[in-house]
């Protein structure tokens, strides 16, 4: 059952992004920024955790989940290190995803040749 919810919730979150593209002509960069910041805000309000528990990867794979991860990381870090945690928590939580993307980017740029995108 949780597979179905992951599919439906993940799909729905992507449809919201598609509506933003088609109806507001927002650029991809702006949409990604909006999703991550919105994820932080929703998580801070305590609304994202229930969705993540309910839909699993359907909530954590879209970039809203990345924002949720940042917000959770910062809460954990503040609990452990006080105010300093506000500075360290976000990057600690996001480190895996960001480092994986960077490593893949470098390897891909070394192995692959640029090709015509059209």
């Amino acid at each position: 059952m949780h597979f179905l919810w992951a599919f439906l919730v993940g799909g729905a979150l992507c449809v919201i992004g598609q509506l933003l593209i088609d109806l507001t002509a927002m650029t991809p960069a702006r949409i990604l920024v909006l999703y991550v910041v919105a994820g932080v805000v929703l998580s801070a309000l305590g609304w994202y955790m229930p969705l993540a528990e309910f839909a699993g990867a359907g909530a954590t794979v879209p970039l809203l989940g990345f924002g949720h991860l940042l917000a959770q990381g910062v809460v954990d870090a503040v609990e452990r290190h006080g105010l300093l945690g506000a500075l360290t928590g976000g990057f600690s939580a996001a480190a895996g995803g960001i480092a994986a993307s960077l490593v893949c980017g470098v390897i891909a740029s070394l192995l692959s040749k640029s090709k015509d995108q059209s």
Binding site: H2, A6, F7, V9, G10, G11, C14, V15, I16, G17, Q18, L19, I21, D22, P28, A29, I31, L32, Y35, V36, V37, V40, V41, A44, G56, A57, G58, T60, V61, P62, L63, G65, F66, L70, A71, V74, V75, A77, V78, E79, G82, L83, G85, A86, G89, G90, A94, G96, G97, A100, S101, L102, C104, G105, V106, A108, S109, L110, S114, Q117
Partner: protein, 150 residues
């Protein structure tokens, strides 16, 4: 041919393709949903192989990022993205694509100012504003925590 702005707008409107809002949204829904479903399958598998919940989630992200990088390098991710739109943009695979794609494209400009800098053309703003939001939330949390009885 001389045109007023209104006439030009009118002609532009007629020449533009009809709204493809519904097919766009269906593509985004099914492709985005499928990527999340794959994520859920991976998360379940990693959990079954004995990884803790948070580790399984991080491994899932890393796997999807690596998969996206391979598909991006082969040029397939871009092809899928032209159909799926936000379905390929919003999941973490879209973030990885936004890093890997310029890294490959700007390889010709060198490893430092090409790959190193241009990689962040889209990911940079995401990291900057995500991080700003998280720091602000961290400071707020620090001050409201005593009030929450935590």
């Amino acid at each position: 041919m001389k045109l007023s702005k209104q006439e030009y707008d009118q002609m532009n409107k007629q020449a533009s393709p009809k709204s493809k809002l519904l097919p766009d949204c269906l593509w985004a829904f099914f492709v985005g949903g499928a990527i999340c479903l794959l994520g859920e399958v991976l998360r379940t598998l990693y959990g079954r192989w004995g990884f803790a919940l948070t580790d399984a989630a991080a491994l899932t992200s890393a796997t999807l990022v690596a998969l996206s990088a391979v598909l991006t390098a082969l040029g397939w991710y871009h092809k899928l993205a032209t159909k799926a739109g936000a379905g390929t943009l919003v999941p973490i695979t879209g973030f990885a694509n936004a890093v890997v794609s310029p890294a490959i494209e700007f390889r010709v400009e060198g490893l430092v100012t090409g790959v190193g800098a241009k990689m962040f053309v889209i990911a940079g703003p995401v990291i900057v504003w995500g991080m700003m939001a998280s720091v602000i939330w961290g400071v707020i949390y620090y001050f409201i925590r005593p009030l929450m009885g935590g």
